[in-house]
């Protein structure tokens, strides 16, 4: 049966913050749905319920099992990503979904979690006192394969996110500082090259970000309207269901990528700050779990998953308030999307799992595989 100690080590803070986030997500989608005219909130509720089930499932299965199967998880994800390119369903110009009849899955979302698992597993096994350049080649390849499969969907946001997860985990394992610095320098140098790889619509978005007024009704439109939405909310917001920007269809994608802007518009600085705090709690608990883990895999995995949630939230919010160009990254648990919700909740389940199994490694005598 479930060990008593698992419940003793249950991270209530993380769990409650997650539940609160889902509640906010539902309330917010209720308004966004009224604006778009399609009842997304109830579908999202189904995803929440399914996701919670997965969260509990992943909590009770020993997370070290993931390491055992990490190779197969990786291969499975790659197969799904290839499938998407071949038989994927196209929505709004991007081929991101595999249709399974009653619902669609988005393998690029799964890839986020897969990357965290696979990289943690890799670094756990590849134990070295210090990592240099040459030690990063193989994990980089591991990362770039799914990136290469996701990028042409086209889904720049998720592709970038995988790189972010990679960077976060490599930061945690002991790489030399010199490597970090030189990689950063390399990236800065490579920006002109990267510019030429970008697709025209992506270039437009970056240009629009740098100067939104240059094309206020084309690429800069989202950015301007989103800023107006957030700003017009003021300190206390316009009131629930009264966000004119969203309800008058100025804001596109109000139920997915721009979900935060309707929240900020209707609940103001107060609501936005509360949301930030909840995310802060989740990220903080995630980092604490990573920090307290006495074991490499758990620590890396906890850090990777926390990074996954943090980067999504950060990039999405930055995009909404105009700190970053528009990239399609959902706000975890707030944006509408079944795959995203379930993958995020799975990740949180794993975090809870790592936390709960902390006791296994507290005494040196118990440090054996059971």
């Amino acid at each position: 049966m479930v060990d008593r100690r698992i419940l003793e080590n249950f991270d209530w803070w993380l769990f409650l913050a997650t539940l609160l986030l889902m509640a906010i997500g539902f309330v917010n989608l209720n308004s966004a749905s009224a604006a778009t005219g399609y009842p997304y909130q109830y579908k999202q509720l189904q995803w929440y319920i399914a996701g919670t089930f997965f969260m509990l499932l992943f909590m009770f299965i020993d997370y070290r099992t993931l390491m055992v199967y990490s190779f197969w998880i990786y291969i499975g994800t790659l197969i799904l990503l290839c499938l998407v390119l071949v038989v994927g369903r196209t929505v709004g110009g991007s081929q991101r979904w595999i249709s399974l009849g009653i619902f669609n899955i988005q393998p690029s979302e799964i890839a986020k979690l897969t990357m965290a698992i696979v990289l943690s597993s890799y670094f756990c096994n590849d134990e070295k006192p210090e990592y240099g350049f040459s030690d990063l080649v193989r994990p980089l390849i591991l990362t770039l394969i799914p990136v290469a499969l996701i990028y042409p969907q086209p889904d720049l946001g998720t592709a970038l996110l995988l790189v972010f997860i990679f960077a976060s985990i490599t930061y945690l394992v002991k790489i030399r500082w010199t490597v970090i610095v030189s990689v950063l320098a390399f990236i800065l140098a490579a920006i002109p090259l990267g510019w030429s790889i970008l697709k025209p619509y992506q270039k437009k978005r970056v240009e629009a970000f740098l100067n939104p007024e240059s094309d206020p009704f084309g690429a800069g439109y989202h950015l301007i309207q989103s800023k107006i939405a957030v700003g017009s909310g003021g300190i206390l917001g316009k009131g629930y269901m009264h966000g004119t920007q969203a309800h008058l269809n100025f804001l596109p994608e109000v139920h997915t990528d721009f979900a935060f802007s309707i929240w900020a518009e209707e609940w103001g600085l107060l609501g936005a700050t509360c949301l930030l705090m909840i995310y802060a709690v989740i990220v903080y608990r995630g980092l604490i779990i990573a920090s307290h883990s006495r074991e490499r895999f758990g620590a890396f995995l906890a850090f990777g998953i926390t990074a996954m949630i943090f980067w999504q939230m950060f990039v999405n919010m930055c995009m909404v308030v105009g700190l970053m160009p528009v990239v399609g990254i959902p706000l975890p648990l707030i944006s509408y999307g079944g795959s995203s919700v379930i993958v995020t909740l799975m990740g949180i389940g794993i975090l809870l799992n790592i936390r709960a199994r902390r006791y296994l490694f507290q005494q040196s005598s118990m440090g054996v595989w059971r």
């Binding site: 096994n125 193989r138 009704f217 017009s232 003021g234 930055c318 308030v321």
Partner: protein
């Protein structure tokens, strides 16, 4: 590959040294996260506190209006490109609820201008209650110029009221082939719910009848959208984006406007139907059902009086007699009986029977229409003078089974397959039917009645046009078709007319020739029944028919019979007799006599057709010369 992610079931714990580094890196990450969140918060503060007033003002001003750009409905034209149904701009009054802050006071101001009852406007408003607030709701359609000016003049005190310009259906020739072209009507609540017409809004017009309904998809095109940013007063600031409308496809009918007009003039105020067909391919050149109606009425709105007239119980103007009316074929059916008799070798052209004006079967007497009798009668004479007694003899010899078999082979008793809804099948009685229906055996007397086209047999004018076409062209039944070609808005041909042969008459061409000769005689002989269709220098072949609606004891005192009990008049014909180019079926309800009432109508149509064939080229707007010559080939 497997090496890269080699699963090792080993626990790699941190040693104390590593644990320290690990913790410090995570602490460092926490600081970074905190910095990121502070940045975000700072930006939020900047937007929501410092810039709040400015951005809120922008959001107040920010109003999006979605304007629908209705696609012009495709045109319907005749075979020569003359416009039968087109579009003209019309003006609708719309309300955007989101911008009309005080709807009640707005309505109070608006109602006197529109001169419309408040209830009516509220009904229109209620129809749009499911639409988003920013969507304009049409509250009155087709306002006149005067009302338009008055609304525009006071638009500043009518916030949220807009004039929408939409293309509107017009029928420039009025009541021309209304039953074929059909009409439009407002999409109903039920159709909206079932999404029968995707992309329609309440109040939109959709095809309800005829070509307008059958080809609604092709004709509708796709509506466009334009998103306009408007300021607080509703004035447009700029166009955000636009999806241009795709106009509907144009449909060229095989109908010839001149011929159609001639047909309708010839029918005049008689109740009946005419179908004119190209016997060589089944293309319908004219199709009319009288009385007519103006399809434009359904667009402008119908007054009660007009509606009553349309609902007339006896004349039924909305009923398409050409395809829905089922009538006994009368003597025109003798063509079928004659063909069956020849093919089944019951008679030869030289077989004669003696007609003394009546035929006795058992205790019953069956009369010939000519009470004086026709004397010795062979097939030629029997057809051309329409002798009933001859066909009583022949029918008796053939038997009902053969007659009904041939009737069905001639396309009776089943739909012709014309692409119009509601086509009637007609009826061919059989021995089995009698048994099933009445539980009685078939009587010989009934065979006699059927063999001259009376009794339970019913046919539609379209079926008869197809039948006479098949006789004319040597035995091929074509599916009647009325679409010449469909062009999209760029003038590209989407689909074009191809004849669809649907069957072959089971009669040897030699026998058909014998019948055709007799049909020529019926029109051109001194004693023929169809002499009223004789045209000098133009050989018409035809058959009259007078179908009883109810048995009349004394035929010569018909004048006093009530209109609705009078006989139906038939005339089916084709011309020129040697190489048929045009076939016609005329039915006049209660017209009394085919030869005197229906035949002259056919003559007028033939005369018009001859005039149209003269070398003078008809004006051809909007068509290329090449298209035109192609059309002439099979026209």
């Amino acid at each position: 590959m497997k090496n890269l992610v080699r699963p090792l079931c080993l626990i790699r714990r941190f040693n104390t040294e590593e644990q320290k580094v690990h913790s410090s890196r995570i602490s460092f990450a926490m600081i970074a996260v905190a910095l990121c969140l502070v940045t975000l918060f700072a930006k939020l503060w900047y937007l929501q506190v410092i810039k709040s007033g400015e951005l809120r003002a922008m959001s107040e001003k920010n109003r999006l209006r979605v304007v629908r750009l209705p696609a012009p409905r495709g045109k319907i034209l005749d075979r020569n490109g003359r416009l039968l149904a087109g579009v003209t701009p019309c003006f609708n009054v719309c309300i955007v609820k989101e911008e009309a802050r005080d709807l009640e006071s707005l309505l109070r101001k608006l109602i006197p201008i529109l001169r419309e009852s408040e209830a009516e406007i509220r009904i229109q408003l209620a129809k749009g209650k499911r639409e988003p607030l920013y969507m304009p709701i049409v509250i009155k359609r087709r306002i006149d110029w005067d009302t338009l000016c008055r609304i525009e003049a006071s638009s500043y005190r009518l916030p949220g009221v807009y004039i929408e310009t939409v293309p509107d259906r017009t029928y420039p020739y009025g009541a021309i082939a209304p039953h074929l072209i059909g009409y439009l009507g407002q999409v109903s609540e039920k159709e909206l719910r079932n999404n029968s017409f995707p992309g329609t809004r309440p109040g939109d017009m959709v095809g309800k009848y005829g070509v307008e309904a059958v080809f609604n998809r092709e004709l509708s095109g796709r509506n466009g959208l334009r998103r306009i940013e408007v300021d607080a007063t509703g004035g447009p600031v700029r166009i955000l984006d636009e999806r241009p409308p795709v106009p509907g496809n144009d449909i060229y009918l095989t109908i010839d406007l001149d011929l159609q007009r001639a047909v309708q003039q010839a029918l005049d105020d008689k109740v009946g139907a005419v179908v004119v067909m190209n016997p060589n391919n089944g293309a319908i050149l004219a199709m009319a059902s009288s009385p007519f109606f103006d399809p434009g009425l359904f667009i402008k709105g119908i007054s009660e009086k007009q509606w009553k007239r349309l609902q007339d119980r006896t004349k039924k103007p909305l009923f398409n007699r050409a395809i829905q009316g089922q009538y006994a074929p009368g003597s025109t059916f003798k063509i079928v009986t004659a063909a069956a008799a020849l093919q089944e070798k019951v008679v030869t052209p030289s077989t004669t029977y003696f007609c003394n004006g009546a035929f006795r079967l058992g205790r019953r007497v069956f009369r010939c229409w000519n009470w004086r009798g026709h004397g010795r009668t062979n097939l030629y004479k029997a057809i051309s003078q329409s002798c009933d007694v001859y066909f009583y003899h022949v029918g008796l010899e053939l038997g009902i089974d053969e007659i009904s078999k041939y009737a069905m082979a001639f396309g009776l008793g089943s739909r012709t397959g014309i692409r119009l809804p509601g086509e009637a099948k007609g009826f061919v009685p059989t021995r089995e039917w009698k048994h099933q229906r009445y539980g009685e055996n078939w009587q010989k007397g009934e065979t006699l009645v059927v063999s001259i086209g009376q009794g339970a047999t019913t046919v539609t004018p379209l079926q008869m046009a197809r039948l006479i076409s098949a006789v004319a062209n040597g035995g091929t039944l074509y599916t009647p078709e009325y679409v010449e070609q469909i062009l999209n808005s760029h003038g590209k041909i989407v689909s074009t007319f191809t004849p669809h042969p649907s069957g072959k008459l089971p009669v040897k061409p030699a026998y058909l020739r014998i019948i055709k000769e007799a049909l020529v005689g019926a029109v051109n002989d001194e004693k023929g029944t169809g002499t009223r269709c004789r045209i000098k220098g133009f050989l018409v072949a035809g058959k009259t028919g007078t179908a009883q609606v109810r048995e009349q004891k004394k035929r010569w005192r018909k004048k006093h019979v009530l209109w609705k009990y009078r006989d139906n008049a038939w005339f089916i014909a084709y011309a020129p007799a040697d190489s048929p180019k045009i076939a016609i079926a005329v039915l006049v309800e209660h017209g009394r006599h085919g030869g005197s009432v229906a035949a002259p109508i056919a003559r007028k149509v033939f005369e018009t057709w001859i005039r149209l064939q003269s070398p003078r080229p008809a004006p051809v707007p909007q068509r290329s010369a090449q298209n035109f010559s192609q059309r002439r080939l099979h026209g």
